[in-house]
Symmetry: C2
Subunit: 196 residues, 2 copies
Amino acid sequence: MARKPGSRAEITGPRLREAALRLFARHGYAAVSMRQIAAEVGVQAGALYQYIDDKQGLLFDLMRAHLEELLADWAASSPPAAPAPARLEHFARFHIRFHLTRPDAVFIAYMELRNLSPAHFAVIEALRRRYEDELEAILRAGQEEGSMAVPDTKLAAMALIAMLTGVNTWFREGGRLSRERVEDIYVDMVRKAVAG
Amino acid sequence: MARKPGSRAEITGPRLREAALRLFARHGYAAVSMRQIAAEVGVQAGALYQYIDDKQGLLFDLMRAHLEELLADWAASSPPAAPAPARLEHFARFHIRFHLTRPDAVFIAYMELRNLSPAHFAVIEALRRRYEDELEAILRAGQEEGSMAVPDTKLAAMALIAMLTGVNTWFREGGRLSRERVEDIYVDMVRKAVAG
DNA sequence: GGTTGAATTGAACAATTGTTCAGTCAAACA
DNA sequence: TGTTTGACTGAACAATTGTTCAATTCAACC
């Protein structure tokens, strides 16, 4: 019937995704078995198939949810019209904050692309492309305004995103540098890299 | 006794590594079976164990060989003493060229770290650290010379390497931009990003 | 309290995994 | 030519894989 809050299904579903995210990020998609995920959830492996089509569909769902959240958060936080340099700084800060907040999802979305079927891969690739286009639009605006010198906006967008996302590979909360300080330094490098 | 050139062993050994590199890069370490590698080499799976200890040792060998070649090539190409900006440009060009030349090895060395045993991981991590230190030394020199503004040399080194390595994710030979043009644009962004 | 229906179990499946090893082969030496 | 020696085969191994499904459990309804 209508599931009441607290029913088994409403608990198992989210926990399945949390466990899969953590395990895939830690050990890699191919190295994690459905039984390991099930054990983490506290359930037998067969029960997982009430919530997913198959293992690969689970990976796809995690990736898509991540990228859709990325695009939605960006759309919600993006300031309307502003000079390109301000929009660029806003993008850089948003990107770093968003990515540092969910390292597991970021890791999976970048590393497990080859485990997707071609159809699923195309969907994920298109979502990522939409995000890259957001940055590229800012750079193009800056170029046209004359406030930036960007000979190739596509290349520059890829380069800046790679640089910003790289923060996930080394930053650890409570380390030598605070998140705010890291953000400031990255923003400075980004700004200068495309300066006219 | 002494193996003659062209003996089976002298052919199988290198081909094993070539096949493993290609397959690991394409499908991921965990998703490739020893039998797939053996088939690619034209041999039965058991024969591979004449050349490797186990699957994970094979992965480790590939990574170590890659990073040692990176360090050796850098040491051989590095100009003696020069102003920091010139050394930085040299590093950027070297890095892009080296990485674009061997995308499979680069991919593996960045993506399959979690499949290494702790002992093997420590070795790989140390090698990578040595390379990062090479760039950091240049940035520190630039900061001391006054020719660069780098508030945190370690952070900047990580950021620049991430940006430069990112070229591998999108660049395709014969595409819109030539390798030389890509190199020039990246060098320009790198130079400006740390400019004073 | 009994009925319903979804959530879960637990066993089963065929296939595949990394690795070992006794036997076979073929090329290099004497 | 016969011997030696390393490379390779092919079968075997126990373990594990993703996935299915009849049977069971258990909470929500009448």
